[in-house]
């Protein structure tokens, strides 16, 4: 690994006094240390944010929950407060392996912003908000504006993610699915999340769907969702929605993990599985 200097600030003020353009933020290190080691990234400073209390906590917040950026996947899995967020729990359970989940954080997951990252599709259907902080104050970023490309976020220079707010959506059900090459540990070849509001009541029902690895960032199509909402669904409706999605996604043919056809099939199966079984 190329040399760097390590800092462990104890407050946000101290963090912002040392955070410059040649620094990397270190949370769990499960992406950053791999990239530093391979030489994909190099920085003069590595700033460990795990000593700062503002990055912690899984707590109820007005009509939802707020998860500190440094909370690990293991903490998310073990949190009772998050029990209602089924898709998030499912995603956290699939993530990496036991030792990785003990270190990897949710903040690191979205900041690394890989196209199949575990939390991306989930935060996308929940329409989560990312609480961002910089030297000059805080701002809220809707999750759909947060990931802007492969390994790219809309964080401005000198900004960090403090926490993520997930609204609790009354009378809703959420689902998560992923495929990987091996049953043990592997990154998702494809993943998806579906959120259904008022599942038992077709006329008042709303559908949200997000798919990973088929575009640079989690893919949602609100037009398609609208066509699937507020009615009892027929197989034809689901098939038409699927065709529409296929026209708009852009899975890379060069992906080593899964072919575009495999990813499309995964979307189709997931939609049939969830939407096909709604009353």
């Amino acid at each position: 690994m190329k040399k760097f200097d390590y800092f462990r600030p104890q407050s946000l003020k101290e963090l912002f006094s040392i955070y410059d353009e040649n620094s990397a933020i270190l949370a769990g290190g499960t992406d950053l240390l791999v990239d530093l080691r391979s030489g994909k990234k190099s920085f003069n400073k590595v700033i460990d944010i795990k000593g700062i209390e503002e990055f912690y906590g899984i707590r109820k917040a007005n009509a939802g929950v707020e998860i500190g950026a440094c909370e690990t996947f293991s903490n998310i899995l073990n949190s009772k407060i998050l029990n209602k967020f089924t898709a998030l729990k499912q995603a956290a359970g699939c993530m990496g392996c036991y030792e990785i989940r003990n270190r990897a954080t949710i903040g690191g997951n979205i900041c690394n912003s890989s196209p199949g990252c575990e939390t991306g599709v989930v935060l996308s259907v929940y329409e989560a908000t990312v609480n961002v902080c910089g030297k000059n104050g805080k701002r809220k970023v809707p999750f759909e504006e947060f990931c802007v490309g492969v390994n790219k976020t809309s964080l401005k220079r000198g900004e960090v993610v403090l926490s993520i707010f997930i609204p609790e959506i009354k009378n809703s059900k959420s689902f998560y699915s992923r495929i990987s090459r091996t049953q043990g540990m592997d990154l998702a070849c494809w993943n998806g999340a579906i959120l259904v509001i008022n599942p038992e009541n077709p006329r008042r029902r709303k559908i949200r769907m997000s798919f990973g690895t088929v575009a640079p960032t989690p893919f949602r199509d609100k037009e398609v969702e609208k066509n699937l909402s507020n009615k009892k669904l027929t197989q034809k409706d689901i098939d038409m929605a699927f065709e529409e999605i296929c026209k708009k996604i852009s899975p890379r043919a060069s992906s080593l993990r899964a072919t575009p056809e495999e990813k499309k099939l995964a979307i189709k199966n997931f939609m049939n599985d969830i939407l096909g079984n709604l009353p």
Partner: protein, 152 residues
């Protein structure tokens, strides 16, 4: 940048000097010379470098040595007490779950960490805890046999 750090490794206190970019794995193997912990992939994929840090198993190749300052670390050398092998170690030997032995410290340490949290884990729970551990020799059959013995 050099850092003076304190580690409590297998119950013994060590005060050592490390560079910012040194991993905990490097400190354990190259500074403390505890070579039971193995370096396989060096990037979190294989599990050979697993150690217990403050009660939880982590991949020491993905932890900086400075990050471990002040922490309790258990490596494979600290598992057997007073030369007496644990139930897990015995089970691995009896089942012949070791060929070259390179992956074994990681497997054993991961299972011991689970046993600290849960006295009688189910077979499925042990398998879940070992999800990210690779073995290139045994084909896992013998390891599964050892797990049967442990979960009995």
């Amino acid at each position: 940048m050099k850092h003076k750090i304190n580690l409590n490794v297998n119950g013994e206190k060590h005060s050592i000097e490390v560079e910012s970019h040194h991993t905990l794995l490097y400190a354990i193997r190259e500074i403390l010379h505890l070579t039971g912990t193995k370096k396989g992939c060096g990037e979190g994929e294989c599990g050979a470098c697993t150690v217990i840090m403050d009660g939880v198993p982590v991949r020491s190749c993905l932890v900086l040595a400075v990050e471990a300052d002040g922490k309790d670390i258990t490596t494979i050398e600290g598992i057997a007490k007073d030369g007496k092998l644990t139930k897990v170690q015995e089970a691995f030997i009896e089942a012949g779950a070791i060929q070259c032995g390179f992956c074994t410290p990681g497997f054993i340490v991961a299972i011991e960490a689970l046993l600290k949290k849960k006295k009688n884990p189910k077979r499925s729970e042990i398998i879940e805890a070992l999800g990210g551990h690779l073995c290139r020799c045994t084909g896992y059959e013998a390891i599964l046999k050892a797990i049967e013995k442990i979960s009995k």
